[in-house]
Amino acid sequence: MKLVLRIFFMSTIATVIFAGMEPGQSSFESKAWFRYNMEMQNEEIQSSGFQLARGYLVFKHQFSGRISSKFNIDIYSSDKSSDAAGAGLKIKAAYLQYSEIFPEANLMAGVIKNYFGTVYDWDYTTVQKALEDAEKVTSSADAGIAIVGYIPGGWGEYQAGIYNGEGYKNYGDNIDDHPVYLANVRFIPVVGLTVGGSIRYGIYDDPSDTTGDPDTYNHSEIAGVGRYSYGPFNIWAEYLMANYDEQTAGGFMIMPCVDIKKKFQIVGRYDMWDPDFEIDDDGHNRFIAGVNYFITKDVKGNPQTQIQLNWERIQYELEDSEPLDNISCQFRWEFKSNPF
């Protein structure tokens, strides 16, 4: 009887939380990352300290069976003098979604994900951001409109959108008159193997031209993505190239990881980045080794509380430059309310 009651009780709670929202209902979520970071170079500590690296407050609302919204702000520790009381604020998501605008596709409008490369589904297996985010090629979100769809039969996904292009932190005077256009596709030809690519294209104003009618230049970014997953093994790879007028930057990332007993995850990562192909020795390599420990997971298997330990070394190409080491210990936790 006790077993029956426990199953019923747990099932009821989980069903209420994960049943989805009815029209007129809302829900609240929170995610927080508390991080210790120590940066060392030339055997000297450059920085050391705790911070709230991320503090997401997410509010969702279901207007009807097909129309929903999401609003996500990020409150985090900040050392910028412009941020009050040591706290920064970002709008990470603020959009309306119309589901099934045509079969297996949704329309999203607002501050939405940048569907490029690996940045849009990066789940921070490493403390470090996705390659394009870490090297500031694209941000993780931007204001725009996108179609987000799935290929029937689960053969993959696609997205196409138009955005401001300057990222979610820039608006008004900080953006130019030219939007960027983005397309992304991923195919899953066999179970476990994902291949895909993204392209992003736009025009930007010459920042050095202060006349009222500045010269413009084209810019484009492309990414090739591959992933292979088998049992507890998982490996991601990404090739990234960015063209800004006469400057070309590029690099790649490879990240293998292995799950152990559903509680631990060992991850490695290697990035190579060259910010300008025409300049010698301006690039760097990034090495990351880390362990993730999942303290608790929800009934879907998503981590609720976890600890991440990462060691990262950035090795600069410039001769005689000292590598930069970064050791991080991060606690992550998240929770969701019942729909109300």
């Binding site: 099932s11 069976g65 799935y150 879907k300």
Partner: protein, 271 residues
């Protein structure tokens, strides 16, 4: 030497996570849960070494748990979505469907009503509040009393998907917690309409035809009755080990007898 030891230890731990454990974990739909639970109890009685854990949470929870390799079998009262298939395949999981039962929803009215049939469109209009008087559908000049279920109900899921099809249940609907409560309320309310699992039909309420098809086990099995859905158990690839043994039991005559006892429709003998 130390490096080799560490590599060996990690390899052993990895292999331990690959090798199938003795325990079978089943997660998902609360509609399928009674079938899984009853079958599991009988199976464990007959197989002392079997250790089966069953959790609810809903079809989405079960499928997500299967994708994240947190369970061996995902119970689902709906088909897996395209997005979920893509997500599964990305993570190296191949969802394979096993239909274990059918769930049919009978539309019931109080026995005093002389209504014998309603179309799906009429049902939708009634439940969404477009039609509020029985005379609009050939009945008496009386206000329709609408009985429905809350959103966490699997029975409501079927009704919502097939009948309402995007429409919202009107605010005036009375929401009750169980099939039994629907049946009792309709029995005691002369101009009420409700919906219940086929297994909960009784002599105190009157089941009406939908689209001129009678709500019956036969019409559910041959899929002519419109308000039906398959109940699924999904596995990662073809089942093996204890998952296969358990699924074989569910699909056996003993297992299907349990399905019928739980108020669901067994898979027809021809399948």
């Amino acid at each position: 030497m130390r490096t080799l030891s560490i590599i060996a230890l990690i390899s052993i731990m990895i292999m331990g996570s690959i090798i199938a454990e003795d325990q079978l974990v089943i997660t998902g739909s609360t509609t399928v849960l009674p079938i899984a639970q009853a079958c599991a109890e009988e199976y464990m009685d007959a197989n002392e070494d079997a250790d089966i854990t069953i959790r609810g949470g809903g079809s989405g929870v079960g499928i997500a748990a299967l994708i994240d390799k947190q369970c061996d079998i995902a119970n689902a009262s709906r088909k897996i979505k395209t997005k979920e298939i893509a997500n599964a395949k990305t993570k190296g999981v191949k969802p394979v469907n096993h239909t274990v039962a059918w769930d049919a929803i009978a539309v019931i009215v109080n026995p005093v009503m002389e209504i014998d049939n309603l179309s799906l469109e009429q049902l939708k209009d009634i439940y969404s509040g477009k039609i509020t008087n029985w005379k609009k559908v050939g009945g008496p000049n009386k206000q329709i009393v609408i009985i429905s279920r809350d959103v966490s109900s699997g029975t409501f899921e079927v009704f919502n998907e097939i009948v309402l099809d995007g429409a919202t249940v009107c605010q005036s609907a009375l929401k009750v917690a169980s099939n039994q409560a629907v049946s009792t309320t309709v029995k005691n309310t002369p101009y009420a309409i409700g919906y219940i699992g086929l297994g909960y039909l009784n002599k105190h309420v009157k089941a009406i035809d939908v689209n001129d098809v009678e709500a019956s086990v036969e019409n559910a099995q041959n899929e002519t009755y419109p308000i039906i859905r398959a109940l699924h158990m999904y596995t990662d690839g073809e089942p093996r080990g204890m998952a296969k043994l358990f699924l074989d039991y569910v699909m056996s005559s003993d297992g299907q007898e349990i399905v019928a006892d739980m108020g669901y429709i067994p898979i027809s003998k021809s399948e």
